[in-house]
Assembly symmetry: C2
Homo-oligomer: 305 residues x 2
Amino acid sequence: MSLKLTILGCHSATPRVNAHPTSQFLEIKNHNFLIDCGEGTQVQLRKYGIKFSKIKHIFISHLHGDHIFGLVGLISTFRLLNRESELHIYAPKGLKEIITVQLKLSNSWTHYPLYFHELTSTKSELLFEDNKVEVHTIPLKHRIYTNGFLFKEKIGERKLNMNAIVNHKEIETCDYQNLKIGRDFKLQNGTVLENETLTFEPLKPISYAFCSDTSYFPEIIPIIKNVNCLYHETTFLNDKEELAATTKHSTAKQAASIAKQATVNQLIIGHYSGRYKNIDDFKTEAQEIFENTFLAEAGKVFEIN
Amino acid sequence: MSLKLTILGCHSATPRVNAHPTSQFLEIKNHNFLIDCGEGTQVQLRKYGIKFSKIKHIFISHLHGDHIFGLVGLISTFRLLNRESELHIYAPKGLKEIITVQLKLSNSWTHYPLYFHELTSTKSELLFEDNKVEVHTIPLKHRIYTNGFLFKEKIGERKLNMNAIVNHKEIETCDYQNLKIGRDFKLQNGTVLENETLTFEPLKPISYAFCSDTSYFPEIIPIIKNVNCLYHETTFLNDKEELAATTKHSTAKQAASIAKQATVNQLIIGHYSGRYKNIDDFKTEAQEIFENTFLAEAGKVFEIN
């Protein structure tokens, strides 16, 4: 099982020539999820060759501009591209009003079905689920109502142990599906072959937690415990710990501390304040606490197997 | 007298990697006007080194996304840059609602005075005036309520003819201002020196007309007659004349015809549809009718003296 994450933007506050606000494109199983949509996201999608038609679900963490100002443009572009398929947007309450007032006043209603799933709960909730993937909110602590998102593969089917199966002529191809879902096999002589002797454990499901923006907020740890990959904002370095607290953001040190406590496998950091010229300093600070830390950068692709 | 126009974006519909939607920065007298504000305009301003603090007046032609989706981001960035000076926005009715709903729901009110001047008239009206410059609307014909804008220098003071003045000892420095505003000079012996013998005509005032988006609409000609520079949209080439009519846009041929009929000095074209790979074709088509045609391109600066 695998997951592919493309960073479209990872800087805070205002878009600049080489600093794009938050947006990520996540491929997990057969799903393609867009997470947050700062101004210019649609240009970043084009730049990195991501087909617009792939996107069917958009998750918005909160209503600050650096996370949503690119959304109405993307929605409008879908219309100009003659999109017909449904688009689902999961976002804090208010986003529907923001988008619809613009579509109404510009007389540019979408021709495709557009669904808003507005969020208000401060407890983690299931937003999306099918037989392969589920998405939950991660309530965060920011200046306005904000959620992170936990993307989890479901446990898949067991893998056939063909070397064992071929020793039993009675097992036919039509029996394989029952073996994959864990059933034992009963021979005609009454002997029961236990499933574990005929199959291997399913691949371990992959999980990804996206957390932006938030104060240092250890309450999220039970939700993100042991995820394969955690994205956690690091607007500031430790030199601005007080400013981080005031503006309800995190430092690199705090993000790394969350990663360590949640025993995640890998940490990606981003949402850098424009005041820092060298983003490597974020990595250095985080790695003092959590070694397996990586810097988000526009265009960077993380593949997690 | 002179005018400097910087093209920030000149493509229609959707922003792409090298195709930015409409925005222009106009320097005329001591004023700095931003005209339209498609998504990504603030990045274009940074790219071309234009100081954000210079902008005090923004003119918005209409509420289609490719002309406004960058505005809320720019307004928010002004706040983050701790702007204190007034910002005036002249735009069709509805823009205030679009902007304020976003500022309200993101809890990001501006700390500086923000004034909306909402437009509804279908007749040309004076929007802004001081002792040097005036700005009028140019009602256009598009799918939604749309105005172009006419920026005009006022006639300046007469220029002193120092070679003539030095022949008259009685004329002192304190008299110069009266000469500049056209008064005759009376010598002590009663002789009247006519102003024309002591001064030259003032420099011819410069004018710029911005027209985007619009059908072919000759009704604008009396308003833009003899301007130094006309920007006129050319979304399509003549091969798509019917589509231009349907979508209420213009072809290069039609823009050139307007320029010719209005006997303007110079035509700039832009707002190219993404379907055309070579924008030189727009220039070729326009120049068959109006020779002094130039292509708008992001970053291009037009200086008109």
